[in-house]
Symmetry: C2
């Protein structure tokens, strides 16, 4: 167990970015790797959260018929050039292997920024007939994108992610797949991460390089900024044409496959942190907390020690038997105050205080991380009580975040109004709002929003507002309001 | 489900290497990625086996106190040069990123071939006091080593692995850790993979570049060749000195940490295949089989179809309820013979044949993959029967492999005798034997064995032979016999 000094965290109100960095560091989530530009080390608590997210996502991918595979990290540079939009989008961000085995390579390899191209190559080898379709694959992998401005978890040169790649016999099936996986992402965000999201369609200007249409989930951080938390793409026949992935249809004709790709990454952890954490440090939803309960034994005299530790071990064993991961912090040389501070910063949902008087009274003090509330409960039946506290905490975190999203979402009916809202929101709290406005899906309209240092985040799949209206840029009628916001 | 044509597999006796390649391809385990030198795509069946191996290893790593973390893929080139033996060992195999983000980099990065150097860098930031020790970490990752001769799973340019990295306050603790993890590997090999291994110490000539001492597990493939299946290293204070990882001892002095590292990789899957598979294709031990049971329904008439499928679904549901992963192969357009052939090549441990007459009689025919034995059992109680068949298969695979290892291990007392044994073993069956011989741990002695196109595989941790004897090269007395063999 690390003895790294715990230090206080800069309050959100003072400097949101510095607060975030402090929470990540003090929460044992990650640490910048200055020696590798824009990279981080994912530390034990951060990786354990990622493992829990992975397990949940992976179960859902398998339940929807996908199988995991693994494609090479290195991609021949020429592959990227086969799809015009794709290479234009990714070439500024590529890391290139030019030498290997002590020699200059005849053709350089790029370190995968994403795998559509190499997947396309193999799809062309594997797919011949409609009988081979659909192909439903997923890969857990690392990718590298040379980003100018990086921030731990939110945007790092290397990140961990999953990328789904599927091929279908027609556009309709591919569309259904892309939307199905968007909903899977949204369910994990809401049900597991307690992070409400808006499910929507990216504008043409914001879609994935090489896609026909990109779907996304957008979350609101505590400062009102938007975070794109996951994307799902209809690739149309673009990569099928670039890599010659043709199949014989039932009718005997030859056609290019329709593909999708979809991904979420360690960026989700950044979103998780900026949704729930507070000025005391990390707050983890119980469903993702590697350790749900820490029991801190309190004693002064040696004869109290054995008694308290024995009861603490029993409480932990009972909790673990019910799948509520619990640990006793029996470290010597640290006082209880230090221990509570330590676990608070690491986001442990529930801490239990157990001293000689508690043991004598047959009780324990249960503290909830998010609210800071403390309450004494009988030791008998404590597991059930803690289980209920964890369930309520999971629900409350989602409710609080949903309220924040609702309260910080406003409508606007002109570009000036959008600008005014974003400017005052930024001035007030260094953050932003989600502004719902009618805007045409045209890169020229996106460009006007960009002038406000904001962007069109998405056109929601479901209109929760007031139907059609006039575009704030062109005046043309569009179906319903899009989300405009500043973003990470 | 793929319709890729099933084809026959070249028999082992005809061409072992071609047989191996066929088993890998037909078993849906992997496929060469010719467009990326020496790389492969790990396909669905192969990746599913890897997931099961990972889960089992990971559980054991955690049970021995290790936490998962993630270090950057890219390592500053200069880091490799800090440890003299390490850079000498790895520099011929490095892939180098010289350009990124559209520019030439000031300092190139290597794609990690292993992570001791970057881990050393971070250990120096994290470790100050004896209170910070031990540090017990593990990473699941991909690594790249530019190999000249590659073979799927056994040696690929990129491979997936785990690398444990630990730091300790003294040599004794580090040694215990390195040996503990070697035993973890051996237990997984034997208890899960049904692959018996010899636990031993590498000669100085064969140890990891930068280690003080390397431990290994060595397995015997069906052709008698040795496969190094896992290694665990005592790094001494070598990386501590190279990266200035010092800690204050309890006594107040400053000392360099003692480190270990240990790893197993997707190479294990190559060993698994070459231990159990046969001329019909892949054979998977039940504990690692993604699907343990496939039920093949048989019917001719439409009215039989519904009845048979209903019973098949019931059988599958019962098996799945007991954790025995089962599927019904209800594909249309394929005859039962094709289906059995298909699953046989993919290594499914048990297939169940279920036709109208079976249903009428209340029975089903259970076929065991390794022995090819077929037996009819009542449908009632079938789950228990299948569970027993799977358990016995797991045991029998280990027993068969252990017998092979025993029968193909011989002793020799001179270098000429070693040469004779290896030559005749190769002539007889294109393979080899494990020759137990006394040989001094001296690179000059290793060199003499290399002349025989073999190598000293290890000095077993436990002597199972006849104690001390004279070195076959120098005549000096050594403690006990080493394993000499040809290897992958």
């Amino acid at each position: 167990m690390s003895t790294a000094q715990s230090k206080n965290i800069i309050p959100r109100a003072q400097d949101f970015a510095a607060w975030y960095q402090d929470v990540v560091l003090q929460g044992d989530m990650a640490e910048p790797a200055e020696v590798v530009k824009g990279c981080m080390v994912i530390k034990a608590n951060g990786y354990a959260v990622w493992e829990r997210l992975q397990a949940d996502l992976d179960r859902r991918f398998k339940a929807t018929g996908h199988k995991n595979v693994y494609f090479p990290l290195l991609i021949p540079e020429s592959f990227l050039r086969r799809e015009a939009e794709h290479v234009e989008g990714f070439s500024p961000e590529l890391a290139v292997v030019t030498h290997a085995g002590g020699k200059k390579l005849e053709e350089a390899y790029v370190v995968r920024p994403t795998s559509e191209t190499i997947v396309g190559h193999f799809f062309s080898r594997w797919i011949q007939s409609w009988r081979d379709l659909p192909v439903l694959m997923n890969q857990w992998a690392n990718v590298v994108r040379w980003e100018l401005r990086t921030r731990m978890f939110l945007r790092t040169t290397e990140f961990l992610w999953q990328e789904g790649h599927t091929a279908h016999a027609n556009e309709q099936e591919a569309r259904e797949e892309a939307i199905r996986m968007l909903h899977v992402y949204a369910e994990v965000a809401e049900q597991v991460m307690a992070m409400p999201v808006i499910r929507g369609i990216k504008s043409r200007a914001e879609k994935f390089a090489g896609a026909e249409r990109s779907y996304c989930i957008e979350a609101m951080m505590q400062n009102g900024l938007a975070l794109q938390a996951g994307t799902s793409h209809e690739l149309g026949q673009n990569f099928g044409k670039a890599f010659d992935v043709k199949f014989q249809t039932k009718e005997g004709t030859l056609e290019y496959v329709w593909q999708t790709s979809w991904g979420v990454s360690t960026r989700l952890i950044g979103g998780l942190i900026m949704t729930h954490s507070d000025d005391k440090g990390l707050v983890l939803p119980p469903k993702l907390a590697p350790v749900k309960v820490v029991i801190v034994p309190i004693f002064r005299k040696e004869e109290e020690r054995a008694m308290v530790l024995e009861v603490a071990a029993k409480v932990a064993a009972d909790l673990n038997a019910q799948g509520l991961t619990a640990e006793v912090d029996a470290r010597e040389g640290y006082n209880p105050g230090h221990k509570f501070f330590h676990w608070e910063q690491r986001g442990v949902p529930v801490t239990i205080e157990l001293g000689p008087r508690d043991v004598a009274a047959g009780t324990a003090v249960v503290k909830r991380r998010d609210l800071g509330t403390k309450e004494s409960f009988p030791l008998e039946g404590l597991t059930g009580v803690v289980s209920g506290v964890l369930d309520r905490m999971q629900e409350d975190l989602l409710a609080t975040a949903a309220r924040r999203l609702r309260e910080n979402t406003v409508t606007a009916s002109s570009l000036d109004e959008v600008a005014g809202i974003l400017t005052s929101a930024t001035a007030e709290k260094g953050g932003g709002k989600f502004v719902m406005a009618h805007i045409k899906d045209d890169p020229a309209c996106d460009a006007r929003v960009k002038e406000l240092k904001a962007s069109v985040r998405c056109l929601p799949l479901v209109d929760e507002y007031d139907g059609p209206g006039k575009c704030i840029v062109t005046g043309e009628t569009v179906s319903h309001r899009s989300v405009i916001a500043k973003s990470y």
